[in-house]
Symmetry: C2
Subunit: 203 residues, 2 copies
């Protein structure tokens, strides 16, 4: 029988330096890429010396693992929440688009999601397999909403390739979206829904 060991909470305000490292690593991985980001970059970003992050992580690759799984977890949770709402298929679909784009482009999860999309190939094979399993469940949610849209007569094609087209259009927004640009995340989500389904019926 073993006792679960919890990391101790030191003060009133959260002192979680480990989480700070993950955040800084995520931002740097998005800006420069995993391979081009050095431990010294990450350490400097949180005010540490270059050896200190290794107190919290065994290797640099473990930091990537933490970043990517954080991203996958957040986006999964956000979209699942939207998918489980009891709206009409179209409203549910739009809510999922907003959730996905919100994680990809919006404040918190942005760095994690970008690392997830572009740096996963640097993960070790075992970790990659772990990630793929989660990703499969994630994509099944999209497959299901496409099915629902087809049953409702709103789209003609709910195949796997159709889902890949959709996720491609979504994920590619990372390449061109600018937070200070003219389009908001909500507008992009609605426009994509219109692009695929056509305008919603007048009430």
């Amino acid at each position: 029988m073993s006792v679960q060991i919890e990391p101790r909470r030191v003060a009133a305000e959260e002192p979680n330096r480990r989480a700070e490292i993950v955040r800084a690593a995520g931002r740097l991985f998005r800006e420069k890429g995993y391979a081009a980001t050095t431990i010294r970059d990450i350490a400097g970003a949180v005010g540490m010396r270059s050896g200190s992050p290794f107190y919290h992580f065994k290797t640099k690759n473990d930091m990537l693992r933490a970043v990517v799984l954080e991203g996958m977890g957040a986006i999964n949770a956000a979209v699942a929440r939207a998918a489980n709402s009891d709206k009409s298929p179209r409203a549910r679909f739009e809510a999922m688009l907003r959730a996905h784009l919100g994680q990809l482009l919006g404040g918190d999860g942005r760095d994690f999601a970008a690392a997830l999309l572009h740096e996963s190939r640097h993960l070790e094979p075992t970790v990659l397999a772990e990630l793929v399993a989660i990703k499969d469940r994630y994509e099944a949610m999209w497959q299901k909403v496409l099915q629902d849209l087809k049953r409702a007569g709103l789209i003609a094609d709910d195949s796997q390739v159709a889902r890949l087209f959709l996720l491609g259009a979504l994920n590619w927004t990372v390449q061109w979206y600018r937070p200070d640009g003219s389009k908001s995340i909500e507008q992009i989500a609605r426009q994509l829904a219109n692009f695929l389904i056509g305008k919603p019926p007048r009430p």
Copy 2:
């Protein structure tokens, strides 16, 4: 008056080692990423010692430049050829889809195109500006065909964002297409056209 000096041709077969280096670099950049690829990797792939590629290129970054511009040039040429054919808007559109996907997923240009999509950020700013200029002209071709499709009443939205959705779906194929998979490039192109326009009218 000056005499034109031609590089000497040594044998019957073309001895262009520089082009070989670009091809090897392209493949490695796609497989491992620019930052994670070493000069020794590239040199080894063409049977050279680690210092020798620098006879042909000033820096590693210049190799990336060559790879990326090669990719942009090839895809631009292929799609321009399709765009200038005198078919109907829909047939022209499908031909452009095939051309774009052919460069992205098919044999030759595949490595260059992947490097173009994912490693451009490691280019020096001046080179990046050069690339963006070409890319703008490329995207204008797509904007135009979307206009034509809208005029023909085949799509409802020909805005810039619609173009970005389209190119996203296209470029994302790199992430999931497998040459030995069940879908051919032609099938993917047709399915994307159907997905956006609907089935073509019966003749």
